[in-house]
């Protein structure tokens, strides 16, 4: 974390990522003539947009040394809840969105309190949350794929454009900027990084680690809810399986962006580029007519590779070690 002047280290990482991104685009253009079409790029944009929105909030958990695996379920639930509020209870669409976001706050608060006050590993708490929230989403929607017919204003969030650019892009852009500023230029951002870097030292310097962490999970949960609302509006659908598996895309994006899962550092811009890459990877698999089964495989491999690279592990050395494991003579 260097402040005041440009962050050269992060810039290098971002720049390197950008280079890989360009290479991917060139590669995809060469592989498939369908890649560089408006239709296809719009498709990529949508998925990047949703992952991007989630990422802006979900990145704080890894920065403090935790993780939030419940974002996908929260997003799905948010879409369903918003629909119920608008179309079953007939609330105004804005009010419905506000209530949905408040529910997001509550979920995040529970996640945060259980991890900090009861010292349960974050991944267990959020994995459990993922499970029960999915159940709640199924229960509320009765497992149906509900088509959202109205109100028009709600549906407009996903489809209408301003200056020729779709609204969700603006939402993502605003959240990225806000999140970036929050992380790099506010007291809260400093506290998050400090808690992730060395909790004891942070505490002795006057930071309240528990409070910081609880806020982190609330932020994560709220951005996931926003993503869920955008998704519901975009797809005109409320469905419990709408975002299934997105948490892995989100983690992949964050990890590609150079954020370690051990805490103490993080880059919102890096994660954004990561989100675009995840979008391209998924799109590339589609364009190559690879079955959707390749998607989790690619994600898994990318996560592992990015984590290992983030740790600064020398690849040749590791291969050497790997080989030595198979040699019967080497007794360690």
């Amino acid at each position: 974390m260097k402040t005041g002047t440009l962050d050269w280290r992060q810039l290098m990482v971002d720049f390197r990522l950008f280079g890989i991104l360009l290479l991917m685009m060139v590669g995809l253009t060469l592989i498939s003539d369908r890649f560089l079409t408006v239709d296809n790029l719009t498709n990529v944009l949508w998925s990047v947009c949703l992952i991007g929105i989630m990422t802006t909030g979900a990145i704080y958990a890894p920065i403090t040394g935790g993780i939030d695996l419940s974002v996908a379920s929260i997003a799905a639930l948010a879409g369903i809840v918003a629909n119920v509020l608008m179309n079953v209870y007939g609330l105004h669409w804005l009010l419905s969105i506000v209530i949905t976001l408040l529910i997001g706050v509550l979920i995040g608060w529970v996640n945060g309190v259980v991890t900090t006050k009861f010292l349960v590993p974050a991944f267990i708490v959020t994995m459990a949350a993922k499970t029960y929230l999915f159940g709640v989403a199924m229960l509320v929607s009765n497992g149906d794929q509900i088509t959202i017919m109205q109100p028009k204003e709600f549906l407009a969030i996903g489809v209408s454009k301003f200056l020729g650019i779709p609204i969700p892009i603006y939402i993502m852009a605003v959240l990225v900027i806000v999140s970036h500023i929050l992380l790099k230029h506010t007291v809260f951002g400093r506290q998050c990084i400090a808690v992730g870097a060395n909790e004891v030292s942070a505490k002795l310097s006057g930071v309240n680690p528990d409070r910081t962490r609880i806020i982190v999970y609330i932020i994560s949960s709220v951005t996931a809810s926003i993503a869920g609302i955008v998704m519901a509006s975009l797809t005109q659908q409320a469905y419990a399986m709408n975002a299934t598996g997105y948490e892995f895309d989100v983690i992949t994006a964050i990890v590609i962006g150079g954020t370690s899962l051990m805490g103490g550092n993080g880059s919102v811009t890096g994660a954004l580029i990561g989100a675009v890459m995840v979008g391209f990877i998924n799109n590339g698999l589609n364009l190559l007519d690879m079955p959707s089964a390749y998607h989790p495989i690619a994600t898994g491999i990318v996560i592992l590779a990015a984590l290992i690279l983030n740790q600064g592990v020398s690849i040749p050395k590791s291969i050497q070690y790997l080989l030595s494991c198979f040699k019967p003579a080497s007794v360690k």
Binding site: V114, V120, A128, G135
Partner: protein
Amino acid sequence: MSVSAIRRLILIGLLIAIGIALSIANPSFLTVDNLMTLLQEASLTGIVAIGFTLILITAGIDMSIGAVIAITSMICINFISYTQLPAYIYIPIALAMGCAIGWVNGFFITHFKLPEFIVTLATRGILAGLALIAAVKDSQGFVKNVFIQDEVFLAFGETVGPVYIVTIVFFVLAFCTQFFLKRTRAGTNVYATGANPTAARLSGINTDRTLIGVYMFSGFCAALTSIFLSARMMTAMPEFGIGSEMDVIASVIIGGTPFTGGVGDIWGTVIGTLFLALIKNGILKLGLSPYIQPIVIGGIIVVVVVLDVWYKDFAEKRAARSARQKQMQSKEGV
């Protein structure tokens, strides 16, 4: 009586109480058929949970177990569909595959020092995808429902008297694993590695090897479950086992093995598995929405963990108080 013994008694009491309540609510609950099916369900989760208990004792986690079930059942179904090899050749291969996956998990965790959950989440994704690709497909590329006819394989789904073989295997495996943990040096090493890795290393334990071994065992248990599951269903689907890790985690946690490592035993897990299976069966028998199930499983994990921490806090404070009193008394005595 120790804290964990009281906890277990409460659990058994609850188990019986829920059982009685269910048999009053629905007479079809207390039939041999239903109870044996319940035990069979419990055993399928339970075998994986045994492996998972060892993982938790080392303070680790294995999220890939569900995907291991998927991939190993796909391995078997491929052998069945495309080869004439007998079951006693491909079943060991499938089990070995489970061990190999565990080895890979353990390797990444010990060598690259990566968090266990992220490594096993990644392998979970990779294996789930591979299972879909490896699934037997028809000419249009859709997953084909292969009916298993291999009698040796199907025998795994049979019963001895009224009891399913899987239930017998579950209890035998539970007994053996418990014996292994408590009565062998390697088992002791598992506890030591989880309780205090530095001290374990100081005492000459190879903690990396212990960890890799534990992940291999977890993979083995998952592979074993996949065979019983396929034999019972008489087919195998690439979705087998996906998502079952939450059931397993819930069972083990109900059983009283904490995340902090160094503590835990198999009998607790057995009770936890039965408890969870009973609740799932109850949801079914009471005609509740099946969507309640994930809520209950996710909720149980949070509630049990919170209660355990609360109770531990309480017990520790009480112990500290009585220790202080004792010390005071002895001081006065001197």
